[in-house]
Symmetry: C2
Subunit: 449 residues, 2 copies
């Protein structure tokens, strides 16, 4: 009974899969402030041409550059696990598999796109990347990737996290990145916030503004984003492609796939390559798992909205809780996003993807059960997928169905132990569905056209 | 150009290698307080018979039980890496390989023996294991292993670490272990310390006393130790056996092997299977790397001494700095041990193993260089092996020698980021060789016979 299903380095996928090629309808375009579609030129100030092309491309397969594969080899192909011990603990006839993306040096799936983005920027002659980070997962990933291609990296880390979560900050420095507590005095955006509140705790919205401002104002500097955009999801499809190969090696195909869903790169990464089969008629359920406290797909509205909290980005048609919705302070920071990838939103709207929301305490219960059976302590984001998988496995135990379930273990929880500590201390809240707050923020949706 | 050399699960070693079979002289026996060799009976109060037999065995190959292999599969075989990017950064003709033991759920090589110990105790009808832990690496490993076999685990964690290093404490709880800040009121040893100093910061010596006291006083409870003893090193030989197979897969054999050496389980684990070849005439250098601040092999005395600070254990013939030597507060906590494995000490004394001492700042420089080239942020213990490997690789760059170097990456540094932070802040000290302190503690060596 195999536990790990491994691919050789030579079996690492050579192309990313572009879901746009198999979507029943063309993707909705991002819109500018004037209500007209945003062209490639508008993005050229902060992204290299290769990434802008990928953002717009309809090609089914896009070649992964050899230089990118060379760096990904440091941890890829990632192992696929059969969760024998979890199955036994649940006494379920279901077969549970998980793709282990926690094996990257940064501890999550994020470096899959960070490495690609760093490469294309280096190719375009860029010297420095700027980005924002909250708890630090994305900042670490881009720090690692920048180091691998000799790019400088400047990270604007939300002030309160900079103080409270020093470990990922130090990790970024270890990989050579410069890390600021945002807001800073280095940008117009930062100075204007500090003028009003010199002790500002900062926010992801402010940090984005700072990073984009610097990238837009310097020809040798670009900006990197860790989720939501089409090219980011594209780079993550290597996860699902590998998983498909690995399942085939043991003669399996999943009935259902679960992945946590914040901006969508993790869910899109594992689900899209299987969507290609679904588009061709195969029976499979692809399920995004989100927190009940930030229920974008399950309770949001499908409308044009800003990608950021302040309203600087182009408008994207997506499921949204309103760009100024402030989610409760759950510990799965990566899932506290008001919107979702436009591609995932469109497919979900067309009934081709599923979604489920899980309350916080259930996710930690699932995380602890997983650690006790499979060993690995999962990230709070990943525990959402585990919780949804356990629900289905328990259902199978009742009905006797021997379904094949696959989930994405997007990261480990080594930097989230304070969250587990609070769970054990009984200090975590479940948070009711924040109906009133969502109603209010949805009232602020921008008018289009 | 392959980066990772992987073994299939079916290629995982089926037997541990017992170095005693190939030693030129029989191992020196542990002695009791009366100066006579300690028999198996004396150990039976705290260890199961199977482990006592392994402690004394002269058999070359000892079968790894299937149940142990079943759990080890959660992360084993561990990958062997060719450090292409580090070689390039050093511009060296040397080939650098490293065995990556950081992939275990607890993040180090320690679970290799924890799993085996938990299994044999479970087989012997034991219900609970006790142990001590400092920073928490060993406590985590035994918590994980106990959970896998349904054993209760009670960990006595040094009080000051309990407060300052809460993350590994929470990890132990996640795996179901009970964790106490030692000294406690639960034992005679603890109470006697608290009576004198109610705010005692604790020490590893006190925590050992508490764990052993409970194990010795309850028939259903045993004690588990994470290094030094023969059976612990035996269980770690799976590392070197795998590495040998993996190197053979790419047609390589190492000229030199480096591993950090505290109690010796990490160094013995990777080096002993290659010692078998050396004993048969093969040319290979096996080098233990220790901190200059705790230079057991390079500056200690080969003599009978206690294994613990207080003087409770049998006397072992080993290189020692004196059992009451208090090493400076370096960040590689796992290497702050006054003694060394008796097996390693004997072979070193006979000139069959090598040793080198490296100062603290050089080890962190090496750790950062490794993270920048290979991605993984290494544990402070592991950076010792990296530093020694880098020294040799640089020497090769000067002489033009294309040596094949192998080191053991014993663990990741995810729970050691404060140490890196202090390194970046310029707050780390190198500590001179503590000559006077060692002279004083060596004056307290117990008299034998």
């Amino acid at each position: 009974m195999k536990t790990k299903i491994l691919l050789k380095e030579s079996e690492m996928p050579t192309h990313w899969y572009n879901v746009i090629a198999d979507m029943p309808n063309p993707p909705t375009p991002p819109l500018g402030p004037d209500g007209n579609p945003v062209g490639p030129d508008a993005l050229a100030a902060i992204f290299p041409e290769a990434l802008i092309q990928q953002e717009m491309s309809g090609e089914r397969w896009i070649k992964i550059p050899d230089e990118v594969r060379e760096v990904l080899r440091l941890w890829r192909p990632s192992p696929l696990y059969r969760a024998h011990r979890l199955e036994k603990m649940l006494n379920t006839p279901a077969k549970i598999f998980y793709k282990n993306e926690s094996v990257s040096p940064a501890g999550s799936h994020k470096p899959n796109t960070a490495v690609a983005q760093a490469y294309y920027n280096k190719q375009a002659g860029i010297k420095k990347l700027t980005t924002e980070t909250g708890a630090g997962q994305w900042g670490c990933s881009i720090a690692l990737a920048g180091q691998m291609f000799g790019l400088e990296v400047e990270v604007f880390m939300v002030n309160i996290s900079y103080g409270q979560k020093p470990y990922r900050r130090t990790m970024m420095k270890t990989w050579g990145a410069q890390v600021h507590a945002s807001p800073t005095n280095l940008t117009e955006s930062g100075r204007s916030v500090l003028a009003k509140d010199p002790n500002s705790e900062g926010s992801l919205g402010i940090a984005i503004s700072e990073a984009v401002e610097i990238a837009a104002s310097r020809p040798d500097t670009n900006y990197a984003l860790g989720s939501v955009l089409n090219h980011v999801l594209l780079h993550q499809t290597i996860i699902g492609e590998e998983a498909k190969k690995q399942l085939a090696m043991v003669g399996e195909y999943p009935d259902m796939i679960f992945a946590p869903c914040g901006g969508g790169s993790n869910f899109g990464g594992i689900a899209f390559p299987f969507f290609a089969d679904k588009a061709a008629g195969k029976q499979i359920e692809l399920i995004a798992v989100e927190p009940t406290s930030c229920p974008t797909l399950t309770k949001g509205t499908y409308a044009y909205d800003f990608g950021d909290a302040i309203g600087l980005t182009p408008l994207m048609k997506m499921y949204t809780l309103g760009h100024d919705f402030m989610p409760p302070g759950i510990h799965a920071g990566g899932l506290r996003y008001h919107g979702d990838s436009a591609l995932i939103s469109q497919l979900y709207n067309e009934g081709l993807l599923g979604a489920v929301a899980v309350p916080q305490i259930e996710t930690f219960e699932a995380g602890v059960l997983f650690a006790k059976s499979e060993g690995i302590v999962p990230a709070p984001e990943s525990t959402h997928a585990i919780a949804a998988t356990i629900r289905e496995a328990k259902r199978c135990a009742e009905t006797g169905e021997a379904k094949t379930l696959l989930f994405n273990l997007s990261g480990h929880g080594h930097f989230d132990m304070t969250s587990y500590d609070r769970y054990f201390a009984g200090e975590l809240e479940d948070y009711d569905y924040p109906e009133e707050a969502i109603k209010e923020s949805l009232a602020h949706l921008p008018k289009v056209g």
